[in-house]
Structures are given as structure tokens and as C-alpha cells.
């Protein structure tokens, strides 16, 4: 199972703070992103940062391990 977390403006567009997605052996971050973007295109319009297990990821080809925590994030605005 992959746990997907959302925060701030992405939560508002998706309507929930998290999702659980069944794990597939060949799953990459790109595949997960594309799958979710099909269901939530309005939310993924503003997604520009990705994290896996709390670490920034820039290579969407990253293979995901089972039980990963994946986050799709909008531009930050802290401070």
C-alpha cells in the first residue's frame, strides 16, 4: 500500500488529506502521479514538488517501495 498525503491548497482541491493506493511491483512516482492526475486534474495543476518518505524527489522515474509515503505539494509559501 502507498500512502499519499496532501497539504494546504492541494487538500482543498482534492477534498481529502490522504489516500491509500494499492502497491504494484513496477510502480514509479511518475506512474502514481499520472494516475492521480487523471482523477484530480484540478489539484495536479498546482502540484510542483514531490516527496517520498519526507524527502524531496526530483526524478519522477523513482521506483516506489511498498509502504512508501508519497506527497504531492504545491509551491511553498511559509515565512
Amino acid at each position: 500500500m502507498i500512502k499519499v498525503l496532501f497539504f494546504g491548497p492541494v487538500v482543498e482541491r482534492i477534498g481529502k488529506k490522504s489516500l491509500e493506493i494499492g502497491y504494484r511491483a513496477d510502480m514509479t512516482l511518475q506512474a502514481l502521479r499520472d494516475e492521480l492526475a487523471l482523477h484530480y486534474p484540478h489539484a495536479f495543476e498546482i502540484v510542483c514538488f514531490f516527496a517520498v518518505n519526507g524527502q524531496h524527489v526530483r526524478d519522477l522515474a523513482l521506483p516506489l517501495a511498498d509502504n512508501s509515503e508519497v506527497t504531492f505539494m504545491a509551491k511553498f509559501s511559509g515565512g
Binding site: L5, F7, G8, P9, V11, E12, I46, F49, A51, G54, Q55, H56, T71, M73, A74, K75, F76, S77, G78, G79
Partner: protein, 141 residues
């Protein structure tokens, strides 16, 4: 003593943070601080409240990395970063950054660098409440 890097709901004391910074080294000759606070006006609109959301565990991890990077990059003796995650109104404190170094130039440059990097690297989001409704802030001037 409180951790040098924190996110928290409650307000922070600048005096306590500076005392903690000073306690880390007797060689400290310059301390630069930045306090970000809430405004009642933004992008041409009145703002009644600002609320924050954060990916808490990652935010703290990134802020710790940011502190370590600043200490290494500018040769600081110590640094502290505190960000509130709550709802604030005009005048309330939001973020505190302090850089302590042997001399002023490193402290001043590091303080500016840390707040700029925080806005780019740390997963925190700000929402403004205005008479026209609520809006997440996407820019970070």
C-alpha cells in the same frame, strides 16, 4: 532548553531564542535576526487572518538541514529557526530566524539566506482570509 529548530502553535520569545543562541558560544560577536509577522494588507486586499498548514515532519527535517547548511556555508557558530503553524492576525509573529557568528557580515548574510531558502525548501503553506474570501498564497516575495 528548547530545540534550535521547531514548528509550534504558540508564540515565541525573541529574547529567549537570542539567549539560547548566545549560550552556545562565547566567541559570538554578531547576531542577526529576522522576524516575519502578519500584515493586514496583501496584494491590494485587506487581510483579517492568516492560517498555515505544514507537512510537519518534513518541515522540521528541512529546517534542520537548512540550519546545518547555513552553519557550514557561512561558518556560523549557531543558528535557530522557529516557525508557527496556527492562525494569526495582523502583528502576530510567524517566523523567527537567528544567525550567530564571530563577525556581523556572516551573521547578516546567513540570516537573509536562511529566510529566502526557507520559503523555497520548507513545506509550509499560507492561507489569507480576506473580505473577498480565502486564498492560498502562492508567491513568496
Amino acid at each position: 532548553m528548547k530545540a534550535a529548530v521547531r514548528i509550534q502553535q504558540e508564540d515565541f520569545s525573541q529574547d529567549e531564542e537570542i539567549l539560547a543562541l548566545k549560550a552556545s558560544s562565547r566567541r559570538m560577536g554578531g547576531i542577526a535576526t529576522f522576524v516575519g509577522c502578519a500584515r493586514d494588507f496583501s496584494e491590494g486586499r485587506d487581510v483579517s487572518e492568516i492560517s498555515f498548514d505544514a507537512y510537519g515532519s518534513m518541515a522540521v527535517s528541512e529546517m534542520n538541514q537548512l540550519r546545518s547548511d547555513a552553519i557550514a556555508k557561512f561558518g556560523l557558530l549557531d543558528a535557530r529557526i522557529v516557525h508557527r503553524i496556527c492562525t494569526v492576525t495582523a502583528g502576530d509573529n510567524i517566523v523567527f530566524i537567528a544567525a550567530g557568528a564571530e563577525h556581523r557580515v556572516a551573521a547578516l548574510e546567513a540570516c537573509r539566506w536562511m529566510i529566502d531558502e526557507l520559503k523555497l525548501r520548507v513545506p509550509i503553506w499560507k492561507k489569507e482570509v480576506t473580505p473577498q474570501g480565502e486564498a492560498w498564497v502562492s508567491s513568496h516575495p
